[in-house]
C-alpha cells in the first residue's frame, strides 16, 4: 500500500474545533497505550525471565518436588513443544496447501468450494478448548487406538503427542489455507496461460509453476501457524495428558514416544502458575520467557518472509 507522498504538508490541528481535537488526542492516547502495554509485557517478562532463567534449566528434566530448587528444569517441555510443532505442521501443511490449491485452481462444484471456504472460517473461529475436547472424544474411539495408549478393558486413553498434534494442526490450518490462497490469487492469469500454452497439464502447472511462485506466502502462513501451535495451551493441557516428563508407551523407539504423553512449555507455565498444582512462579517465569522468545522469533521470521514477495511484470 502506497503511503502518503513524502512532501505532504500536514495541516495544524490548532484551527480545529474542540471536539475534533479531543478525538485526535484520544487517537494518540490509544496508540501510545498499546505501545506501552506491549513494552510493559516484554519488559516485565524479560526482567523476570533474566532474574530466574539459568542455563541448567534448559537441559535438566523436570521433577515433581514442592521445593523449587529441586524441581529440575524444563528440558522435557522444550522437547514436547518442538515435537508438537513438528507433528502439527506436518499435518497442517499438506492439508492446508492442498485445500487452498483446490479452492483457487479447481473449486468445482462451486457450492462445495463455498462450503469448504466457510468451513475453514468455522475452524478459525472455533475456540481451541472445544477443539481439545472434541479431539478427546474422537481419539477415544476404538479405531484410533493406535494413536495413543490403550488401557486394560480396551478403553483408549486418547491423549498423546499424535492426537494433540493432529488437533494443533487444525489450529494452524486456517493460517496456511489463507496465506496460500492469497499467494495463488496474486499470481497473474498470463503465467498460468503461458505454462498451459507450452503443453503442460494443469497438474504440472500447479506443481512446477504455481507452487514455487507461492512459496513465500506458504512459508509465511506456516510460520504464523507454528507460532499458534507453540502458544496454544488448552489443547496441550487436555490432549497431551499433562505428565511432567515424557512418558513413552511400549513400541518401536520413535513411535512409542509420539504415542506417549508429555508436556510443553505452555502447559509447564500453566501448571507452575498459582492456577496449577506446581505453584512455582520462578520456574513459570523462566519458562514463559523462553516461550515468549520463541514466539517473537517465529513472528520475526514470518515478517521477514512476508516481505519477500515475487513481483510480476506484465
Amino acid at each position: 500500500m502506497a503511503t502518503a507522498a513524502p512532501t505532504r504538508r500536514v495541516e495544524s490541528s490548532s484551527s480545529w474545533r474542540l471536539t475534533d481535537r479531543i478525538g485526535l488526542g484520544l487517537c494518540w492516547a490509544a496508540g501510545l497505550l498499546l505501545c506501552l502495554i506491549a513494552a510493559g509485557i516484554v519488559g516485565y517478562m524479560a526482567y523476570r525471565g533474566l532474574q530466574y532463567l539459568r542455563p541448567h534449566l534448559l537441559w535438566e528434566r523436570p521433577l515433581s518436588d514442592s521445593d523449587q530448587s529441586k524441581s529440575g528444569g524444563f528440558f522435557d517441555p522444550l522437547v514436547g513443544t518442538v515435537a508438537l510443532t513438528v507433528i502439527g505442521t506436518a499435518i497442517a501443511l499438506p492439508v492446508g496447501v492442498s485445500t487452498a490449491v483446490w479452492l483457487v485452481e479447481f473449486g468445482r462444484p462451486s457450492w462445495l468450494a463455498r462450503l469448504v471456504e466457510s468451513g475453514v472460517e468455522v475452524i478459525a473461529g472455533t475456540p481451541d478448548i472445544v477443539l481439545a475436547i472434541f479431539g478427546l472424544v474422537l481419539f477415544q474411539q476404538q479405531i484410533f487406538a493406535l494413536l495413543s495408549f490403550q488401557a486394560e478393558g480396551n478403553a483408549v486413553f486418547g491423549r498423546s503427542f499424535l492426537t494433540a498434534g493432529t488437533m494443533l494442526g487444525l489450529v494452524a490450518l486456517p493460517f496456511i489455507v489463507g496465506s496460500t490462497r492469497e499467494a495463488l490469487q496474486t499470481i497473474p492469469r498470463h503465467v498460468r496461460e503461458a505454462s498451459l500454452a507450452l503443453g503442460k497439464t494443469r497438474a504440472a502447472t500447479i506443481r512446477r509453476v504455481l507452487l514455487p511462485a507461492a512459496r513465500p506466502g506458504i512459508a509465511t502462513g506456516t510460520v504464523l501457524g507454528m507460532g499458534r501451535i507453540v502458544g496454544d495451551t488448552a489443547i496441550v493441557v487436555i490432549l497431551l495428558g499433562a505428565t511432567l516428563q515424557l512418558q513413552r508407551v511400549g513400541g518401536p523407539p520413535l513411535i512409542g514416544d509420539v504415542r506417549g504423553t508429555g508436556s510443553t512449555l505452555t502447559s509447564y507455565v500453566y501448571n507452575n502458575s498459582p492456577a496449577g498444582e506446581g505453584n512455582a512462579s520462578e520456574k513459570a517465569y523462566a519458562a514463559a520467557f523462553v516461550l515468549l522468545l520463541v514466539v517473537i522469533g517465529l513472528n520475526l521470521v514470518a515478517g521477514r518472509l512476508g516481505r519477500r514477495k515475487v513481483s510480476w511484470t506484465s
Partner: protein, 325 residues
C-alpha cells in the same frame, strides 16, 4: 521416472482433502452434540436458568459424585452463572476493545508520524502473538495481587464476605486482560479497511475543506463499517473461547456478579464457560460429568458458529464497492 499425475486425478485428490476438512467440522458438531445431549435433554430449558439449590459448583460436584449405575446418574444443572460470566467478560472486553481499536486504527492509518507508525505495526503483531498463558501468568502474578491488596479495601471485603470472598481474581482483571488480547485482532482488520477506502473519496472531502479528523470520522470510518463489524465479530468469538487466561484470573468460582452491587460488582469473581471446561478437564472420564462438560462446549460451538456466520454476512456489502477484506 514415475508417471505425472493427470489433471483429473489431481483434482480428485485435492478435492478429497478439502472434503476431509469439511468432514472434520461435521464430525466435531456431531460428536460434541451427541456427547452433550443427555445434559440438555434432562434439564430442558432450565439448563440455561439459575441453579435451583446451592450454586452451580454444588451441582457440578453432585454430578461428579453421581452413582455409577447409569439409571441413577445426576444431571441437574442450571448454568446461568457460567453463561453470565461468559457474557460479562466478553461484552466488557468487546466494548472496551472496540473503543481502543477504532481510535488506534485511525491513529495508525492517518495521524501517526512515520516513525511511530513503523513501531505500531510490530507492536500490534506482538500483542496478537503473545500466548494466552503468558497473559494469564502476568494476570495472576501481577494484576490479581495488586487488585487484591490495593484496590479492594478491607471494608469492601467484609461487606460481601457472607456471599463471596474478594481476593483480587475478578471480572475487572479478566476484562482488562481480555481487552488487550482481542484489540490487536480488531486493529489489524480495521486498519486494513481504513487503508482500503478509495483515495478519491477522502481526497474529495479534503478538497472541500474538511479537516483530517472529520475526513476519517465521517468518510473512512463510515465506509468501512462492514469491516468494523466483521472485526468485532471475530474478536467476540476469540473472547468467548478464551479459556486458559480466564481460568487463571477470573476466580474459578461459579458466581454471578450482581450489577446492583455497585463498584464491588467489578471486583467479584466469576467463571466463564470455557474456563469451566479447563478447570474440570480431569473429570471428563466420569460419564455424566463429562456429558455436562460437553454441553458447555456445545453452547460455545453454537455461539461461535453463529458469530462466524454473522461475520461472513457483515463482509458482503464490502464486496459491492471492491473493498475486499
Amino acid at each position: 521416472m514415475r508417471k505425472p499425475w493427470s489433471d483429473d486425478r489431481a483434482e480428485r485428490v485435492l478435492g478429497a482433502v478439502a472434503c476431509l476438512v469439511l468432514a472434520t467440522i461435521l464430525g466435531m458438531v456431531v460428536f460434541v452434540f451427541a456427547k452433550a445431549w443427555p445434559s440438555f435433554s434432562h434439564n430442558g430449558l432450565s439448563w440455561f436458568g439459575p441453579a435451583h439449590d446451592g450454586t452451580v459448583d454444588d451441582q457440578l460436584t453432585a454430578i461428579f459424585n453421581s452413582p455409577a449405575q447409569p439409571d441413577r446418574y445426576q444431571y441437574e444443572l442450571g448454568a446461568f452463572s457460567l453463561l453470565w460470566g461468559t457474557i460479562l467478560t466478553t461484552a466488557g472486553a468487546v466494548v472496551l476493545g472496540v473503543a481502543i481499536s477504532v481510535l488506534s486504527a485511525i491513529f495508525i492509518v492517518e495521524f501517526a508520524p512515520p516513525p511511530v507508525r513503523r513501531v505500531m505495526t510490530p507492536v500490534i503483531r506482538l500483542l496478537a502473538a503473545v500466548p494466552s498463558v503468558i497473559y494469564g501468568l502476568i494476570g495472576i502474578l501481577v494484576m490479581v495481587p495488586f487488585v487484591g491488596n490495593h484496590v479492594v479495601s478491607q471494608e469492601r471485603k467484609q461487606s460481601v464476605l457472607y456471599v463471596v470472598q474478594l481476593t483480587g481474581t475478578s471480572v475487572l482483571v479478566a476484562v482488562l486482560i481480555l481487552t488487550v488480547m482481542i484489540v490487536p485482532i480488531m486493529v489489524s482488520i480495521m486498519a486494513d479497511a481504513l487503508r482500503g477506502v478509495p483515495r478519491s473519496w477522502t481526497e474529495g472531502a479534503a478538497a472541500l475543506g474538511v479537516n483530517r479528523w472529520r475526513v476519517m470520522w465521517t468518510i473512512s470510518v463510515r465506509a468501512s463499517r462492514p469491516a468494523f463489524i466483521a472485526a468485532i465479530v471475530l474478536a467476540t468469538a476469540r473472547a468467548l473461547g478464551e479459556a486458559i487466561m480466564l481460568s487463571m484470573v477470573s476466580g474459578s468460582q461459579g458466581f454471578s456478579p450482581n450489577p446492583l452491587d455497585g463498584v464491588t460488582f467489578f471486583l467479584e469473581p466469576t467463571r466463564p464457560l470455557a474456563a469451566t471446561i479447563v478447570d474440570n478437564a480431569e473429570g471428563l472420564s466420569v460419564k455424566p460429568f463429562g456429558q455436562t462438560i460437553y454441553a458447555f462446549a456445545a453452547v460455545l460451538l453454537v455461539s461461535t458458529f453463529f458469530l462466524s456466520l454473522a461475520g461472513w454476512a457483515a463482509k458482503q456489502p464490502l464486496k459491492r464497492y471492491g473493498m475486499g477484506v
